[in-house]
Symmetry: C2
Subunit: 379 residues, 2 copies
Amino acid sequence: MKFKIEHTDKETSARAGILELAHGMVKTPVFMPVGTQATVKTLTPDELVDVDAEIILANTYHLYLRPGHELIEQLGGIHRFASWRRPVLTDSGGYQVFSLTDLNKVKQEGVYFRSHLDGSYHTFTPEYVIRIQRSLGSDIMMVLDECLPYPSTENQVRDSIKLTLQWAERSLREYHQTSPLYGHDQTLFAIVQGGSYEALRRESASALTELEFPGYAIGGLSVGEPKQIMYDMTSICTAILPVEKPRYLMGVGKPEDLIQGIENGIDMFDCVMPTRNGRKGAVFTHQGMTILKNAGNKDDDSSIDPECDCYTCRNFSKAYLRHLFKAEEILGMRLASLHNLYFYIQLMKTARSAILANRFKEFKNDFFSRYEIQKHVKN
Amino acid sequence: MKFKIEHTDKETSARAGILELAHGMVKTPVFMPVGTQATVKTLTPDELVDVDAEIILANTYHLYLRPGHELIEQLGGIHRFASWRRPVLTDSGGYQVFSLTDLNKVKQEGVYFRSHLDGSYHTFTPEYVIRIQRSLGSDIMMVLDECLPYPSTENQVRDSIKLTLQWAERSLREYHQTSPLYGHDQTLFAIVQGGSYEALRRESASALTELEFPGYAIGGLSVGEPKQIMYDMTSICTAILPVEKPRYLMGVGKPEDLIQGIENGIDMFDCVMPTRNGRKGAVFTHQGMTILKNAGNKDDDSSIDPECDCYTCRNFSKAYLRHLFKAEEILGMRLASLHNLYFYIQLMKTARSAILANRFKEFKNDFFSRYEIQKHVKN
């Protein structure tokens, strides 16, 4: 992996970079569509290329359980399995183990959990999670981390970041002691934790920085804490993390959160929001979010967003899309997901151009002057 | 509409023709994908063009109820509404009124029924159904017919074909007394009924032939009767229907039924089978139908059908498709639907080439020598 910062905005910490991965170049800031089960929900690889997704996410926990990483290895790795030729980042599964399973127990060695699918018992150690990701063959692997709920006490979080740090060291060791299986390089990112405690965020970021990972993620945010805490924690971390390495804000978020993250020096984002909202008929426009099923769209012959030239907006009216959702037709979910991803990815491109032109603030102000933030929609 | 028979096979009644409709040429024999609610389930118009669907079906009953034909008229007709530029045939809704509603009452004037969606009361008369189809703007409209269940008594069927004949006359009158709304021609097909009674099929076909409709459909088959009855009734009808006009076997069917229909002089088919089966993970191959979820596909790196070059078969293994169905991912439904439609349409193309080369029998024998017919799968 190589990461080159092309330009940093003069007024903010926003940066435009290029991430060179085994399966291609990724221009940052980048939004990574989420393909949990080795498919970005409802969409084909061709459509992802059409909306210019340069990298997608897949999930270690889900793929380990189903279809199993051994099977994916047998079939030549995740790129071949899912017929996706561009880069893939695999989450470590830490977040899922702590959020999806009704039974999990953390020990020094690793985490014991029951599958949310069939209740079977499993263990993830930092080493095993690296080996699973070797089987998957992702371009970017993530370390196993402990993810505490929000809120957690300072003592809980202090203990937790120590464990996450130890796991990160073990992950890095395993990373160096194992080799890629498919002839292409894989890189490894650490994950900064620390809850909503500034000192602990600093401690976690500093300690992980010393380990000299190729890249860094900020985890444990966008889990229910107030927005301002998320923004503050992000900037605290990015102030410490090495400036020349990529930074990834995990699981974030809404368009406004992405813009805020970029301003704070974040390079990479992922979130289920564009696809999950799309499947429910909630679509993004430059004016804010719109619900396609709303009666107001009944005879609306215009497209979702007049400024958008995605396949959906070039071909279909809101009236037709509303009909598809009312009639529970899958095509509606597809077209809305496609539009939302296009919206997110275009937003990143526009932000990037603004950074290169030293006018990120102007871009941000322009965006917020028109975009109505949904206060009551859960992230 | 113009219909030209290019060639009739020397040994059978199979014909290769060209149907010239307002929105384009259709090479027959043709399979028409079913887009009941103005969307061929799970697929985009672009994908339908990719699999070379030359005409699709939409349903008057469903579109009348939701979103309403007035709305579709207001939005410029079904082609514009659904962003589909090729021909559309609309079913009259007769079949749905009799099969989907739990309450319907037939009178001379028309049929009274309750919506399967909300229980509201409605009336379809032959004239109204023509006017609805004028609103929709389909290239081919169908007359309202009475569809009896199988089995029905001879007396019931005798009364029914009289009514269907009267309705056909009224439909034709309404057709001549109304004009297209969007500047393109619409044509009208009659529907032969007669249940499984040879004499009544002959009577219905003869009487409708005298009315000189532009085209003819054979209805009331593939409704639970033995296969042989369907084949016999088809050939009885095609022997009477004018040779120079297109013939459409409604709601049929499985690949083997299409081949049998072509041999008996049928030009057009429609069926939900390729898309409905596809959504359930049942896919067609030259060896017969395969269930993608089957354990045998778990680590099968090969495509659904090595002879197929559809998007699905060019890009995805059965192992991946099985994973998608096991994980209940919509992409699985899409890819299987796409493959099945491609299979059906390619089958029609191959049949057509065989007819043009006077070797339809050879094609048929070749097909059946390899294709294992599923005896216990409901059509």
